[in-house]
Symmetry: C2
DNA sequence: GCAGAATTTAGAATTATTCTAATTACAGTT
DNA sequence: AACTGTAATTAGAATAATTCTAAATTCTGC
């Protein structure tokens, strides 16, 4: 996994299309949708297709270079922040903010104990009103 | 909110259609999709339409009688369990299990402090391997 | 019984995502 | 430097989930 840069066993790793998608996600501080990424990527590489954006995102996600975030409504969003982190979602304006909670390792262990699952990851989203919306 | 049973100000509250949807969700221990609810509800009320299932679910959700759960993939699922609780999702078979974590109130406060959001709710999902899939 | 409001219905429309089949681009040979 | 097999890309169709629309229906309150 993650032999980005080397061309591994047969696969072409970081193709121009995948590079374009990665560049778009990496250069944005926002959490972009696939549609937004497609729009931006075609400015870099006009021939790129929608399917390739999805394929590239999937590839980059597996390589650990981008992160997918989604909550019930609408489309998935993609994020350059690949380390473990938590999200806060504003119920008024929809803004999505990253933050870090130190207690997540213990939390994951507690959740695994209660649910009897072998833990792999944990996701935590706070829904509330963001500082801006409180005026 | 929640003037179920009384017909409040103009609205018709618990119509037969809404009752059928509520019944379907209440009688299942599973987390059903809208499609599954539609199938089951039309056995009770053959004339019910897809749109009404969605409208009813929205209504019942606002009234606090059912709960919506969703994670990236596929369709939202609806749950009779309306109290706050957490979820564990099996990454192998897709099974979704409810569980309860006592530390969530403190967790919500900690997340609010870190993110500077006014907290409304918090959702926590453990992804891992369920007991059955570990064979 | 009638007016007005809310609800339901059926199907069209929209949105997000995946699939398909044909084409193109490599990488590793010779 | 042509050849072969694999992987990736493209365009557009297909699918899935959900929302919207317009007309018909059902209530509630007078």
């Amino acid at each position: 996994m993650a032999d980005i840069g080397e061309q591994g066993e047969g696969g072409r790793a970081l193709t121009p299309q995948r590079q374009a998608v990665l560049q778009v996600v990496s250069e944005s501080a926002e959490h972009l949708t696939a549609a937004e990424i497609f729009e931006a990527a075609r400015r870099v590489l006009p021939s790129i297709s929608y399917a390739t954006v999805y394929n590239s995102l999937k590839y980059l996600k597996e390589a650990g270079l981008v992160n997918e975030v989604s909550f019930g409504n609408g489309a998935s969003r993609y994020d350059r922040e690949t380390g473990r982190h938590d999200h806060a979602l504003c119920s008024r304006c929809g803004r999505l903010v990253d933050f870090e909670l130190e207690e997540t390792p213990q939390l994951m262990r507690a959740a695994a104990r209660r649910s009897r699952f072998k833990p792999e990851s944990i996701s935590l989203t706070l829904v509330g009103i963001c500082p801006d919306c409180r005026t």
